[in-house]
Subunit: 304 residues, 4 copies
């Protein structure tokens, strides 16, 4: 599962499978501005281009696993954006697994909710300051529900209100637990409820934990700042909101201590199609190809 | 603080203070369709109408308390929609305090988040089936931020994304704890984070608790159905969302058991300006005036 | 095609065909609150109820005509909400054809854009004060695009922007021309472009004409006020916008004179599912059944 | 009013006045990514930086004129984004006045509606194929109403519906007429109605004209394509809509012939804060500084 990169290619050819969905189109959009990548959109008929340097799979959940295993078997470096191979392939969250991703030949890109939830909670778990029973309340824009028409993503169903969905057993729940348990070195339980809110792009998780030991607001701020110092795409902010992150690969994090109740709340915001999908995949691709990790990835926060 | 209603008036004259804000305008809109009420909008200059049967105060937080105490001192039946007199006057949540409200002369109308959170969690607390450390994640439409212009309620600030605000110490937090503690007969801790989402009307709370004893999904459904059987404005539903409740005085409730994690999630949706403010105030007024509790209150759920 | 109503039924039984679309569901919602109607939702299997007093057809364009003709042939009073029988059956715009509708057995309900455009322009055409080359620019909420999933009514396609569609040859274009020509007593040409804007319900047309003779702003106001004096569902307003009309059967109209350019602009707003579809159908049904025209139809303008 | 650029500076220092409004913030955002510009935000206290190469004025209408004249008097190259100096300074629409802008010392940046309307109609006027009585129906996102709180830009006022404003005498009306008259070589009359629609960024104009001579659909397409061949920021498209243009400096144009009625409709879409304000200002600044006109300006169309 490991490959050694001797010298990065000057320009990498990247094959994108499944470019009709939201994540696939975002891959093509971002790759078009990537200074050292050339994207090739692959359809069913044109699969498995022999000469590409890396494959990005943006196929539907369920359809991706088989294709991914086949490509990996053919020794093509591959990143799968679906949930199919999470738990099996190297988990592609650079903030936790940068070196392993750089050395991996097959990477499973994290879910959008999982990315935000893990980035919100990992510093607390690593520091051992909270109880392991966590609550994660997620709010996603409607692009998170995909392009296949349903009662969830029609305008008149989704607009002008909010609703929870899949309150128990969402596929990202186990992914969050598994990663946070690895960080904590102990089992972790996450109760997770996603919601669809009426905007196109953007995702916010609000994560709740009980303090296992005293932690002040400034202690929390330092913990978060320390955890993400030097990270190119995670910023600790005051006034976390999703709007400024549209189109960028940034994740914004903010935490609050409720001293009276011994509780801590950490919110993390990102663009579900960029840091939550296509941008993070390109970040992983950069690592695997030996490129600068930030190449072609907008880090600037637009203001609306 | 109590008054006896000998016979309800055929048509009650109701004075509305503060009719320029969203809640005040909604009071006038609903009262215009009330078959036994006649509303009089009162401005600063025309205060304290001697002949009215009841006063509804929709003044800003902070400005309402003094006016309310003065009116109550003048023995006028009064309902205050602000937070100023909660904890001091009879709490106006009919589902918990119907008889006391009917006999009260001065009623504090609950906060919108508090209404939803208490209706979501009270059945669990009353049954003693959950631990007392609760998490309440709230999402409100932008009318919940009031009409005074700010960075929160300008269109370009609020649209096309979501943000938390006042994550610790929101004024509804203590209100929720106090009411749930009374139901539970024991102290309760609530970690509460409200969010502003991009729609005008509507509010959803997603409440999280850990089970203190086993509870199945059907057990939870029965618990909720039993708690709200006969309630005219609370319905246990499948597919809770805020959109169908626009303009109605209904609260929709739905619960889920995460058996694997010993957790329970209950969501409650309502229109923050109706069941969360003006509608509930009229429900309380109906009780205080000896009217049918449902008079003039839309219970129908529109579909979009 | 005419029937004589001897005495209106105390309660009319109304069969609704096609109750799964937006207009059909709105019919059922409104009829549920109608004091003298009992609605029966009819599916393919339960068609042609022999005992009903009137049939409302909310079937898709193209599928409605045949069913409508069959029902009319069976001497059942019927109102068709599709475009199929416009031009053939009595046109159901009460403000222009009240008496004929009351005496008709088969009525074609107007299109939503046509309703607004005709109500905006008919007073000008009747007064003979404008040239017959008209421009109508329409903006509709997304429910106007129906429930069948398409690239137009998915949330991420329709949200956060605006687009024209069917700029030439929209089916409402001929309908507007034909009605206005009848009012004017001379041919009329209408260039019509509809747009989809990101809200669920509501429709605005902005109609443009060149003055054929001088007309002052107050003259225009008087013309519009005179045309709609006594009309229960058309109001001349200052500050026309669609938001307050959600759920109501009202149409709001406002006009402006550009004296310098010899031009007049009239805007008309309504709820496309109520006055633009289901509400107007019930208004027509009331007329055909001998009921008060306003029965069961909300005329109140909510404020948001 | 003219200055000669001997050699462009390697990196230009650009002073931005009024960086708190939407246009000013967008200027800073875009300049941050400009490869040859360094932006200095100037507040009231720090005005008139002696060493800057160019000044961008994003002050409110009314406040900008005086400052602009003072700066121009001090021989500083300056671009004013307000309406104050339009008609007096060189009009900054590169597609019509590229050479004059490059040689000008003081440029008035066009209004957002004017930019779209002129780009939609200029090819028709230049070709002499339409009558000079034009209709322009504009739809703007709410950022077009500015940041000063009002009943127009509060979320609950603007969301979930649409409204016209300033139907006669909008400040862009004369600007459109003047530019189109210059193109046509004859007087032009424009009836213009702007509307506010519920999204943050984006603007669409739908322009209507009567044909003065026969023009087929393919003739219209060729006319538009010919007019904008080689233009870096104007594209003739099929399926014009505002969503893909968020953040880009592109203007998309599409036209339709209604042969039956002898009418032509041309729609133009752009981001009101980029091609309609800050982006166009930078395009003008690039010309005035002798830079490549496209420097630092995103031309890519994102998909949502």
């Amino acid at each position: 599962m490991h490959m050694s990169v001797l010298a990065p290619p000057a320009v990498a050819t990247i094959a994108v499978y499944g470019s009709s969905g939201y994540a696939g189109r975002e891959l093509l959009r971002l790759l078009a501005a990537h200074p050292q990548a050339r994207a090739v959109a692959c359809t069913a008929g044109t699969r498995a281009p022999a000469q590409c340097d890396l494959v990005l799979l943006a196929l539907p959940h369920g359809a991706s696993g088989e294709v991914g295993r086949e490509l990996a078997g053919a020794r093509l470096p591959v990143i799968d954006l679906s949930a199919d191979l999470r738990g099996e392939w190297q988990y592609g969250l650079p903030e936790l697994h940068r070196a392993d991703i750089a050395g991996a030949a097959a990477v499973a890109n994290p879910g959008c909710y999982a990315t935000a939830a893990i980035l919100a909670l990992a510093p607390l778990m690593a520091a051992g300051v909270v109880e392991p029973q966590l609550v994660v309340d997620g709010k996603s824009g409607v692009s998170g529900a995909g392009k296949t028409p349903s009662d969830r993503n029609l305008f008149c169903s989704a607009a002008e209100g909010i609703a929870p969905y899949a309150p128990v057993g969402h596929r990202h729940q186990a992914e969050i637990e598994s990663e946070l348990a690895a960080v904590a070195g102990a089992p972790v339980s996450v109760t997770f409820t996603p919601h669809l809110a009426p905007f196109s792009r953007g995702l916010l998780v609000t994560a709740y934990a009980r303090l296992a030991q005293p932690l002040s607001q400034s202690g929390l701020d330092e913990l978060l700042l320390g955890a993400y110092a030097g990270e190119p795409f995670v910023q600790v902010v005051d006034g976390v909101r999703t709007q400024p992150l549209r189109g960028s690969n940034l994740c914004h994090v903010q935490g609050w201590i409720d001293a009276e109740r011994g509780a801590v709340v950490v919110a993390a915001a990102l663009d579900n199609l960029v840091k939550g999908a296509a941008g993070q995949a390109i970040q992983n691709a950069n690592l695997m190809l030996g490129f600068d990790e930030t190449l072609g990835l907008p880090a600037e926060a637009a203001w609306l």
